[in-house]
């Protein structure tokens, strides 16, 4: 369809593609809309986001409310009224999980926002300006990359006496910015070699103009894909660190803590204490990874 345009003086026959006037993002939207997997993962993500920001929509009673939990119900197995059973603290498992969503998801969103901003800024600077700027940023990236995420995060979180969403975000961003920076840098270098950058420079456009109008828009796609997937992996990392004892602290109701509680008791037959929190974590991570995957397929120009 792309080759069938008409040109007045070139005299090509007018072929019926009138009305088909899509931008590249329009193409992506069209590609996505045809994929059932996109709709499934998008729905899941939307459900998870509403749970994170408006838990009362999904479970009317917060487990933190007065009298919401009763130790008499501790570890209570699923019943018809409470199909998810009760936690070790005697709270309803369903509402604990729903109200715990925010803890994980908001952290992951903050971390993703932070790493994406840092990654886009540093990656663009390194890739566009090259030379000394690139050497400095790339060497610093290498050094941060030398410290494996979980190990690095562990050291600092272990030293923090109080761990909340802010300290966790800070540590995650410190150890998480490198991969997005590397991807952005590579993408910017590829974009920079395109002739339209030279064309804009030849017009006399300033670096800032070129970066704003051309470079970022044409380099951001792989970063968006990676950031979506990273959002899922940050949820997983938070749960892991909490499980290890360096993430959220009790009495916060976070998924990682629920799994840690359930892990030993599941062996004693209280399987619901382990399986439900695990299911929540896995579904959430899966939703973001699937969405990222579908986006990658749609954004990849090789698939056109």
């Amino acid at each position: 369809m792309t080759e069938t345009m008409s040109a007045k003086s070139a005299g090509a026959s007018e072929i019926a593609d009138e009305g088909v006037n899509r931008s590249l993002w329009g193409d992506v939207r069209y590609e996505l809309a045809r994929k059932p997997l996109f709709w499934v993962s998008l729905m899941l993500v939307l459900v998870i986001l509403t749970m994170a920001f408006f838990p009362q929509l999904w479970a009317s009673e917060s487990p933190n409310a007065r009298g919401a939990c009763d130790l008499a119900n501790a570890r209570g197995k699923p019943t018809w009224d409470h199909p998810f059973g009760y936690t070790t603290a005697g709270c309803d498992m369903w509402s604990s999980l729903v109200w715990g969503t925010g803890k994980s998801v908001i952290l992951a969103i903050l971390v993703t926002a932070g790493t994406t901003i840092l990654g886009v800024l540093l990656g663009t600077a390194a890739g566009y300006y090259g030379g000394g700027t690139d050497t400095i940023i790339s060497r610093i990236t290498d050094i941060f990359f030398g410290l494996p995420f979980i190990l690095g995060a562990l050291v600092f979180l272990a030293l923090f006496p109080e761990r909340n969403v802010y300290t966790l975000t800070l540590v995650f961003v410190v150890f998480g910015w490198t991969s997005l920076t590397r991807v952005m840098r590579g993408s910017v270098i590829a974009t920079k070699q395109k002739d339209f950058i030279d064309a804009a420079r030849a017009l006399g456009a300033s670096d800032l103009f070129i970066i704003r109008k051309h470079v970022i828009a044409n380099s951001i796609a792989p970063v968006i894909v990676l950031a979506t997937i990273a959002l899922g992996t940050y949820i997983s990392a938070e749960a892991t660190l909490t499980f290890l004892g360096v993430g959220y602290q009790r009495p916060a109701a976070s998924w990682g803590l629920l799994v840690a509680d359930g892990q030993t008791l599941a062996l004693a037959g209280f399987w619901h204490l382990l399986v439900y929190p695990c299911a929540f974590i896995v579904t959430t991570v899966l939703a973001f990874i699937l969405l990222g995957d579908v986006l990658r397929d749609a954004l990849d120009p090789r698939n056109r």
Binding site: M1, E3, T4, A10, G11, A12, S13, I15
Partner: protein, 350 residues
């Protein structure tokens, strides 16, 4: 050089080829009404739509056309290396010494490749495997098809490099493709095609990626080897100059079909198809100045949406009413030529 090529022990090994009844009196290569289709998102594309030609030993056939006209697909269909799917050979015959290759089983057909028909690709850098040495890749056909030992295969590789004029072949045989210059890499490609002494070479834009002076070196080498070894050469290109220099006969392709076939002198002197004529008038010549370039208006059609009738009719200055619905057959033109134009007489006479 002939010495190297006549040490026939490579062919002593029994291959599935020995079971085929090659008729040495039949044409070396004969393509009849070849049809190739591609299934694409936008529908069925007739990439090759009834191409026929005959090639004899020692002859050079130039297939001339613009990008997307189906010339490369034709070559790959003859070689049997099209990706199927999405491609599908929908009809026709490809006969090598009388044997229809399209009817052969893949396990047999693969022995025809390299042993009898070999191919040279345009971009030698990507056509050579980056992680193996040039010697290893050159020796591979001998090892796999003739059971040569590693040492023999390497010796053979050195001979081949020597033959295509690569200096210090003994040392360079253990270099990797990226260590060669563009022209040298194309020589390696040619050496690889000659490895098993084929009778037919299909060269797909062999010099397009090269600089002019290197282009001349490589074309000289190819033409020299072709003459010396009496190969049948199919030269696929968009460059009308290159074909004029080396081809004996020419097949012009447009939108998947062969629109004109003739002897090289006739076709340049008096084209019998409006497309050929327009092409010749649209390119500037180095030995002339001041000629006006004829513009072929518009664009070649999209293969999934070819105009009815003659596919050139929307761009043709000779087009009449019937061109838009009657698809022209390949008319016989005096002098053993063919033209797919209803008004070939008029074109020829103008």
């Amino acid at each position: 050089m002939t010495d190297i090529l006549s040490n026939g022990h490579h062919r002593a090994i029994r291959t599935p080829l020995d079971a085929l009844a090659f008729d040495e009196d039949a044409p070396l290569l004969e393509v009849r009404d070849l049809q190739v289709e591609f299934h694409t998102r936008d529908g069925l594309a007739h990439a090759v739509n009834g191409v026929s030609f005959v090639l004899e030993a020692g002859e050079t056939l130039g297939i001339l056309g613009e990008s997307g006209c189906g010339k490369s697909v034709t070559a790959q269909a003859i070689m049997g290396i099209l990706d199927t799917p999405p491609a599908k050979i929908a009809g026709g015959e490809v006969r090598y010494r009388g044997v229809d290759l399209l009817s052969l089983d893949e396990s047999v057909r693969r022995h025809v490749r390299a042993n009898r028909i070999a191919m040279i690709f345009q971009d030698a850098l990507s056509a050579l495997n980056p992680v193996f040495t040039v010697g290893w890749q050159l020796g591979e056909p001998a090892r796999k098809h003739s059971g040569a030992s590693r040492a023999d295969a390497r010796r053979r590789a050195v001979e081949l490099l020597d033959m295509v004029g690569i200096p210090a072949a003994k040392e360079r045989v253990s270099d990797y493709p990226h260590q060669f210059s563009g022209g040298m890499r194309q020589r390696v490609m040619i050496a690889m095609a000659l490895a098993l002494e084929p009778d037919v070479i299909i060269a797909d834009e062999p010099t397009t990626a090269l600089d002019v002076t290197v282009q001349a070196q490589v074309m000289d080498l190819l033409a020299g080897l072709q003459k010396e070894l009496q190969l049948g050469l199919v030269l696929i290109t968009h460059d009308m100059g290159v074909v004029a220099d080396v081809a004996d006969k020419i097949c012009v392709m447009y939108a998947g079909g062969a629109v004109e076939q003739a002897n090289v002198y006739d076709i340049y002197e008096k084209p019998a198809h409006p497309y050929t004529k327009a092409l010749l008038e649209s390119i500037p010549r180095i030995d002339q100045k001041g000629q006006d370039l004829t513009v072929i208006k518009g664009l070649p059609p999209v293969l999934t949406d070819r105009p009815p009738g003659c596919s050139f009719n929307p761009r043709c200055q000779y087009a009449r009413g019937n061109c838009a619905h009657d698809e022209p057959p390949l008319y016989d033109v005096p002098g053993g030529r063919k033209s797919a134009c209803h008004y070939w007489e008029e074109v020829l006479g103008s």
